[in-house]
Symmetry: C2
C-alpha cells in the first residue's frame, strides 16, 4: 500500500519511540510530529478531497489508514499516530460534530443546560467508535511492526469545553461560567467523559495502539487549583483505568497540557510515562524538574518550520542540546504542524535530529 | 461632572494604589480592574453610542475622560486608568486602525514586507497622540487627586504582532515567520516601537499619569529564549528610557505579560516596580519567587465574576490569603473584565476585598 523506500529500518522494527517513552536505551532520539498526517501534505489534501469531508475521512478506516501512513512514506519518522479527531467521543454521544471550512469544529447540539448533561451516556467504542478501532487494526497490519502506532483521546476538560462552547472561543466564557456557577454539573460531565475515554483508549489498545496520548489542549486556561480539580484529576483517573499491558508489552501514556509548563511536577505525578511540552517551556529546565520521573516529548515551535533550513537545523540542535545526552527524549513539535508548512522543511527538521544523534551526542543509555 | 458619593476618601486623597506598587505601608489592599471602563457598564455603552465609534470615543478627550471616571462613580476603586487602546501608536504611524463589530482590531495597512518597516517613523506624542495627553490632563483635573490615574501602552512585541498580522489570529504565523525568517527586520520594527513607547509614556507622565503599565498581551506565545530577545529586552529598554520621577514623586511601572508565569524572575529583573499576573499563576508562589523585588497585581480569573456573589467572595479571599499579610499587593483581575459581566458582581468582588482588609488580615507595613 505504501512504499517505505526512504525509511531505514532494522529487521526487528524500530522501537526507539516506545523505548524512549520508557526511558530505555535507544539508537537515536525518536521523532514524530503532532498532526503529521495533515493539510501541509499534498497527498493528504488529495485523499481528503476523495473523502468529501474531514469527518468522512476520519470515519472511513481505509482512508484514515491511508493518510496515517502518508507522512511515513515521505519522512523518516519513528512513530505513526492514528488519523482521527479529538472530538470523536462527543460526536458519538450525539452532539453532532461538524466542520465549517476555516472555522474549526462545531457541534449542532452543544450542552446548554444541566438537563443535557443528565441525558448523556458513555458511548460503546465497539459500536459508535468502531471506525477508529478498524482504522487502528488496518494501520497496524499495514505498518507491519516497522514503527509503533499511537492512539489518542482529548482530555475530559478539553472535550467538555468544546461540548459547552459549541464552537471555537478565545475566552471559554461558557465553560468557565459552568465551572464557577455549577461545579457539580461540570463534575458530572467530566466523570461521564472520563469513563468514556477509559473505554475508548482501552479499546484502542486492544485494537493495536502501542502508546496512547491524552491531549489536554485547554487545561492551560485554568487557575493552578482548578487545573488540578477539573483537568488533571480526571486525566489521573483515566490513567488508573487503562489496561497498560498487552501481550506482555507495556503501553506508555503521554500527557500533554498545552500551556501546562507551570504544572509539570503535578502532571508527572499522575503515573503517566511521558509529558508533551509546548515551546514555552525550556526542555533543559523541564528535564531538571521531572526528567527523573518521566520522558519528555517536544518542543519545537511549529512556526520555526517557516524559516530556512539552516535556521531550522539550529533550532532543532538547540532543543536536543538542551535536553542533553541519554534516553527519555522524543523530538516533536510543541503543537500541531501548521497547514502552510513546506514539507521540505519537515525533512530539514528530521535530518537535523538524525545528524545530531549521529554526531555521538546521544548515549544509548539513560 | 461625576459624583463620588460611594467612595470614602481621606482628605489628602487615596494613595494606597501608588504606595502598594512601591511596597510602602497601606490602609488596605488597593483594587482596580483591567478594562474597568468598558462595555459591561450601561453608562459606558451610552457614551459609546454617543461617540459613534470606539475609535472616536478614544479620540475625543471629553468622552474618554467621561468613561474613565464612570467605574469610579459606581465602585470603590483605588485607581483610574485612562480610557484608550493599546493600538494608538501603530494608528499614529499611519496603519489605519479600525474596529469591526465583534471581530476586534484591524489595520487597513498592515506590515507586509521589509519596505513597510523601513518607512515607519516614530510618532510625535504632542501631535498624532495629543488626544491621549489631553484626555489624561482633563481626567487628572476631574479626579482632583482623589485616586491616582494610570497611563499605559502596548509592549513593542505585542504592537508588532498586531501590525504584522493585521487582524486577530490564534497562531501568530505571520509574526513568527518574520521572527524566524528575518529577525533583523523584526528588531528594526521593535526598536522603532520601543522609541515610540518611550516618548509616548513620557508624554503621558508629563501630562499627569501617576503610574504606567506596559501590556505585553502576546509575550506568552514565544519560547523562553525568544521572549527575552524579542519582548522582554525591549520592555527593559523602555523602562530605562522613562522619566520616572516627576515633581518629586516616583512614577511606578507595572509590567504585564499574559502567559508569562514561567518568566516572573526575568520580568522582575527589568527594574519595573510591579508585575501583573494572569490567573494561571499561584500568587503565593509568585510572591515567594519575586515578592522581595516587586509588587504583584492580580489575579482573579474574570470568569469568576459570572458566579454568584458568595463564590466570588470566596475566590477573592483565596487570592488575598494566598498573597498574605503586608503591602505589595494590588488586587485586580488576571485579564480584562468580560463585556457580559453583571456590574453588581463587580461590587461583590470589591466588597470582598474591603471585607478581608477590615478583618485585620492585612498589616500596614511590608
Amino acid at each position: 500500500m505504501v512504499q517505505y523506500n526512504r525509511i531505514e529500518m532494522s529487521e526487528s522494527g524500530n522501537h526507539n519511540f516506545l523505548r524512549a517513552l520508557l526511558r530505555q536505551s535507544v539508537d537515536r532520539t525518536p521523532v514524530w510530529m503532532m498532526r503529521q498526517a495533515g493539510r501541509y501534505l499534498p497527498e493528504y489534501r488529495a485523499t481528503r478531497e476523495k473523502a468529501g469531508s474531514f469527518l468522512n475521512l476520519c470515519k472511513t478506516p481505509e482512508l484514515a489508514c491511508e493518510v496515517t501512513l502518508q507522512p511515513l512514506a515521505r519522512f523518516r519518522l519513528d512513530a505513526a499516530i492514528i488519523f482521527s479527531d479529538i472530538l470523536t467521543i462527543p460526536d458519538a454521544m450525539g452532539l453532532g460534530l461538524y466542520f465549517k471550512e476555516g472555522e474549526g469544529p462545531k457541534f449542532r447540539y452543544p450542552i446548554r443546560d444541566r438537563q443535557s448533561i443528565q441525558s448523556l451516556s458513555v458511548p460503546d467504542p465497539q459500536n459508535e467508535l468502531k471506525y477508529v478501532l478498524d482504522a487502528i487494526q488496518l494501520t497496524r497490519y499495514e505498518l507491519d511492526d516497522k514503527v509503533p502506532l499511537i492512539g489518542f483521546s482529548g482530555s475530559p476538560w478539553t472535550l467538555a469545553t468544546y461540548m459547552i462552547e459549541g464552537s471555537g472561543t478565545k475566552t471559554f466564557c461558557r465553560s468557565k461560567r459552568l465551572l464557577f456557577e455549577d461545579p457539580e454539573s461540570l463534575h458530572k460531565l467530566l466523570n461521564i467523559l472520563s469513563d468514556s475515554v477509559i473505554l475508548y483508549l482501552n479499546a484502542q489498545i486492544a485494537a493495536g495502539a502501542q502508546a496512547v496520548m491524552i491531549f489536554d489542549t485547554w487545561g492551560g486556561i485554568l487557575t493552578p487549583k482548578n487545573y488540578k480539580i477539573f483537568s488533571l484529576n480526571y486525566m489521573q483517573k483515566i490513567i488508573s483505568g487503562l489496561n497498560l499491558e498487552i501481550l506482555g508489552n507495556q503501553v506508555p501514556v503521554i500527557l500533554f497540557t498545552k500551556g501546562g509548563g507551570q504544572w509539570l511536577e503535578e502532571m508527572a505525578g499522575t503515573g503517566c510515562d511521558a509529558l508533551g511540552l509546548d515551546w514555552t517551556v525550556d526542555i533543559a529546565d523541564a528535564r531538571k524538574r521531572v526528567g527523573h520521573q518521566v520522558a519528555l516529548q517536544g518542543n519545537l515551535d511549529p512556526c520555526v518550520l517557516y524559516a530556512p533550513p539552516d535556521v531550522i537545523r539550529q533550532a532543532v540542535h538547540e532543543i536536543l542540546d538542551a535536553y542533553g545526552p541519554g534516553s527519555g527524549h522524543i523530538f516533536n513539535l510543541g503543537h500541531g504542524i501548521h497547514p502552510d508548512t513546506p514539507p521540505e522543511h519537515v525533512t530539514a527538521m528530521i535530518e537535523a535530529v538524525h545528524e545530531w544523534c549521529l554526531s555521538g551526542k546521544i548515549t544509548t543509555t539513560l
